[in-house]
Subunit: 218 residues, 2 copies
Amino acid sequence: MREMVGIKERAERQISKAVIKRLPRYRRYLGDLQKKGVEKISSKDLSELIGYTASQIRQDLNNFGGFGQQGYGYSVDYLYEEIGNILGLNKTYKMVIVGYGRLGQAMANYITSHEHNFKIAGIFDVKQIIQDVEFKGAEILTCGSLANFVAKEGIDIAVITVPAEKAQIVADTVTRAGIRGIWNFTAVDLDLPEGVACEDVHVSDSLHALAYYMQDMK
Amino acid sequence: MREMVGIKERAERQISKAVIKRLPRYRRYLGDLQKKGVEKISSKDLSELIGYTASQIRQDLNNFGGFGQQGYGYSVDYLYEEIGNILGLNKTYKMVIVGYGRLGQAMANYITSHEHNFKIAGIFDVKQIIQDVEFKGAEILTCGSLANFVAKEGIDIAVITVPAEKAQIVADTVTRAGIRGIWNFTAVDLDLPEGVACEDVHVSDSLHALAYYMQDMK
DNA sequence: TAGATTGTTAATCGATTAACAATC
DNA sequence: TAGATTGTTAATCGATTAACAATC
């Protein structure tokens, strides 16, 4: 009886943000190893590579299951795959990019060439863009049709690369249209309803942290 | 005697990354309040705005000094300024952008229009770029002249927006030329000597974390 | 089998929150 | 002055590290 409570608690205990932030990094290093043809790795060796303690690596992974084998280590292929599954990278996601300035273009490029689980279904901008009217199969449309497009096409993620002042209104629009995730590149913390996931890429905050650490240096 | 040890320890104790990451965010909210003409704010009210506990806000700030006034709260102007000082935003920084693809262009735009403490002194790319030969006063040059430029101009920060494969070699180049900080946009963890600060903007990791949180939702 | 290395529990460390005396 | 709110100490909570039994 006590054991069952323990198991239940584990299953329901929600994983801390710190752990989740480390998962893509593990996966990245495993991908590199894979490319080098490495077949297995121990938490100790991975630790030296990635810079977390072996203990932390094992703890992190065991939040989700036992992926290793005693006396052997972890299969690189298998662990790469499993971390992908944990992250939800066994699915594909339909995206819209909202704001097709240089940053929007950069992200469109990046996603199509490097993130094969993420498909750009549409690109939106206030301006009707003349040249480059289609981006590798994705339509480029004006913002007026955004809500409709998201709802009709069942878009999962909106990439917000508009000027900061327009970020919230875009978020409201896509939220009402049923978006499930927002990838926010503006220097604004969006106000979102429950059930909409959001990841912020606050470049400004990052730059200011860099300035801080540069002082420390000298 | 015991007290002095206490004081010394405080002065030398290094502030945790978690605290530093929150500082730009505090400053951002204070900037917003400033624009709205708000003159003072209590840790309680700031807490409601920003989503950290009042206790945490006071703890964070008191790592660096007592910026408030009992019974009153914090002066918005003064605290904004002080956090800027803590972050090192009372100085200006000379930058180079290395890699002038769409992402490099986006960051050049962003920095010149929003980050007035950061000056782009030069932009570098493998290709000799014909049109747009100068970017608001910054020269656009080929990578061959990068090392020389960094050393001669006394560049503080290199913004690395090249393809991942070239990130480390660029880092080595600017490091040898005496750079003090690197703002890294590639999906690579750079190997850097002591004394060079680095901030990573790993968009891929961010996107994969988003995928994770979307599962949770539904 | 013996050696290696995991999975997991226990110990430690650090960060967050609570509480309250100091003081504006 | 009385009320408000900080600065700071103490308590709590959570995350990381250490240790080791399980086991391949």
